[in-house]
């Protein structure tokens, strides 16, 4: 679980470093504007040279930071990166404080109301750094301001009075003023850090808790599917055997059986058959859900569609269905073969099952209008889906009423399986349907799905 914490913080930390540097560009522009307006519009007697120089220094070191962070961005060690990002943020904020103190000194010292800009730096420090380091930055700010205040008061440093902004009487610094300003700004800075770090800590903790809860949920869901998988597998084995034994009896291989007995055994065999289909669907569904990564290969779609259509050929001929297939020869995607076959089989199987005699089925496979995607669609002139059922057809075990009337033995898992497979391949599925007229299932799949194990590492 610790690694989750690192991940979140690492991401946020480098993201926020970016944000800090963006803020600094804005600050640089604003400083330039304020200096220019103060001197040229309000005619304040400010030392333009050192102030513009300060702004140039700001722009230069921000450029250097920008270049440095983008150069080292792709380094692999995450924990190390996190540590580096934190140290880097800490250094940047210290340098910012130094520069702000420099600006403050050349623009009136403690009498400059921009002194409260230190608050922003404290908020930034509280967000980016650990609480301890944020308090360290607050202390550094106060020490810098105290040095300015004290040095200007004892004339160690010149005091640049904001003539034209403050009353001339305020020209000389009093000890009460210096101490008063230092106390008020000092307490403000500490309070700011206290409030901001408390909020930030709570947010970080919440983030970690959410991530943990999410991972646990996903894992539990996977375990549940694993459980269903095991259960269905065992159920299926026994059912298969039951059915095999019954078939042997029904085929008179154990000797002639009386007609009433045969009838009862037939019923039992039929129910075993239904159960096998049901368990098979359940098994397929849980297998897809239990898999973390589906193994994906380069897969041509046309042969898959051909084979599945062949598989249903008997029912197609029996019902005299008119099946038209139009799948481009070169349609190829990176996908899990077994899953795609399962998906197509369910869709085409549904079309065959729910289309009345002499109906039409159209299977279309083309490149989608959106580049990088393919579009598969299976249309039928079947019973259609009621609008109120459309949202629910992908739910496990859900069966539309008209489908249930037509075929009592469906499991209500087929479309749920299809949806799972489409999701596992980052695709989308939608259906257009009119009751009594027919349905079209459309599936959009990305052509290049990441192969197993080649997700982020190679980027």
């Amino acid at each position: 679980m610790y690694s989750i914490h690192i991940d979140i913080h690492e991401n946020t930390c480098s993201e926020r470093l970016d944000w800090l540097m963006k803020l600094r560009w804005i600050a640089s522009l604003m400083v330039f504007a304020v200096i220019t307006v103060s001197i040229h519009l309000f005619h304040l007697s400010l030392p333009a040279g050192p102030l513009y120089l300060g702004n140039i220094i700001l722009a230069v070191y921000n450029t250097i930071f920008w270049w440095y962070i983008h150069k080292t961005h792709n380094s692999s060690n995450q924990t190390n990166n996190n540590h580096k990002a934190q140290t880097f943020a800490n250094q940047q904020i210290s340098i910012d404080l130094l520069l702000l103190s420099y600006f403050i000194h050349y623009s009136g010292g403690l009498e400059n109301p921009f002194i409260f800009y230190f608050i922003f730096h404290m908020v930034i420090a509280s967000i980016l750094l650990t609480p301890k380091t944020a308090y360290f930055q607050a202390t550094l700010a106060i020490i810098l301001l105290a040095i300015i205040g004290f040095s200007e008061w004892v004339n160690l440093l010149p005091h640049y009075h904001l003539a034209g902004f403050l009353h001339p009487e305020a020209c000389n610094l009093s000890v009460t003023f210096t101490a008063g300003v230092l106390f008020s700004i000092g307490s403000t800075l500490y309070l700011t850090v206290f409030l901001a770090t408390s909020i930030e800590q709570r947010l970080r903790q919440r983030e970690v808790e959410l991530a943990e809860a999410n991972t646990q949920l996903a894992e539990q869901d996977r375990l549940k599917s694993q459980y269903v998988l095991t259960v269905s597998h065992d159920l299926r084995s026994s059912l298969s055997t039951i059915q095999s034994c019954l078939t042997v009896v029904l085929n008179n291989l154990t000797g002639e059986i009386p007609i009433p007995a045969r009838e009862m055994i037939s019923r039992a065999a039929q129910r075993a058959d239904n159960l096998i289909i049901f368990v098979k669907d359940l098994l397929n569904l849980s297998r897809i859900r239990a898999l973390k990564d589906l193994e994906k290969v380069s897969l041509k779609l046309k042969p898959c569609v051909n084979k599945i259509t062949e598989h249903w050929q008997m029912q197609i001929s029996e019902k005299e269905l008119d099946v038209k297939m139009n799948v481009s020869d070169d349609l190829e995607i990176t996908a899990n073969q077994e899953a795609i076959v399962e998906m197509l089989s369910n869709l085409i199987g549904n079309a065959v099952r729910y289309t009345p005699r002499s109906g039409k089925i159209k299977i279309l496979g083309i490149l989608d209008k959106e580049p990088g995607f393919i579009l598969l669609s299976v249309s039928d002139t079947g019973i259609g889906i009621h609008p109120e059922d459309i949202q629910k057809i992908y739910n496990d075990f859900y069966r539309a009423k008209n489908a249930e009337i037509l075929d009592k033995n469906g499991t209500g898992l087929g479309l749920s399986i299809v949806k799972q497979i489409v999701d596992a391949h980052n695709g989308s599925i939608w259906v257009e349907s009119t009751v009594g007229v027919g349905s079209t299932f459309n599936i959009k799949l990305p052509i290049a799905n990441a192969m197993e194990g080649s997700s982020d590492d190679k980027s």
Partner: protein, 143 residues
Amino acid sequence: MTNPKKVFIIEDDIDLVEAMKAILEARGIQVQAAYQPDDGLELIRQENPDLIILDVMFGKEGSTLGFDFARELRQDKALCHIPILMETAVNAEYPGFTFSPKDGAYLPVDDFINKPARPDELVEKVEKLLEAGASRLVENLYN
């Protein structure tokens, strides 16, 4: 009259073995069985059957005991000619079904049969393989 053909079944489900036995014996085929691959090997050596029906037998972590055993047979010069019919319940009803490429460039069996097998399907596949004689895979193996 020619000697009856001998089929050897390796399948851990005793009841299923009995069912298959009934079906095949009704066709005049001699059937013997082992419930574990390990027990099977020695018996197969003794009996020299004309066909082996092998369950895919999934192990605990997705391992396939059946395939491992099939490979073992293929490596054995004395036994590699015996055709193998593999029973599987994995998605076999869907055409286009294949095992994962991890299982090798080719699958070391001659044919698959869906589980539970319909009697007519079982008889058809077994008789076809018995008629064909030696495993078609042998050529590929030692070329």
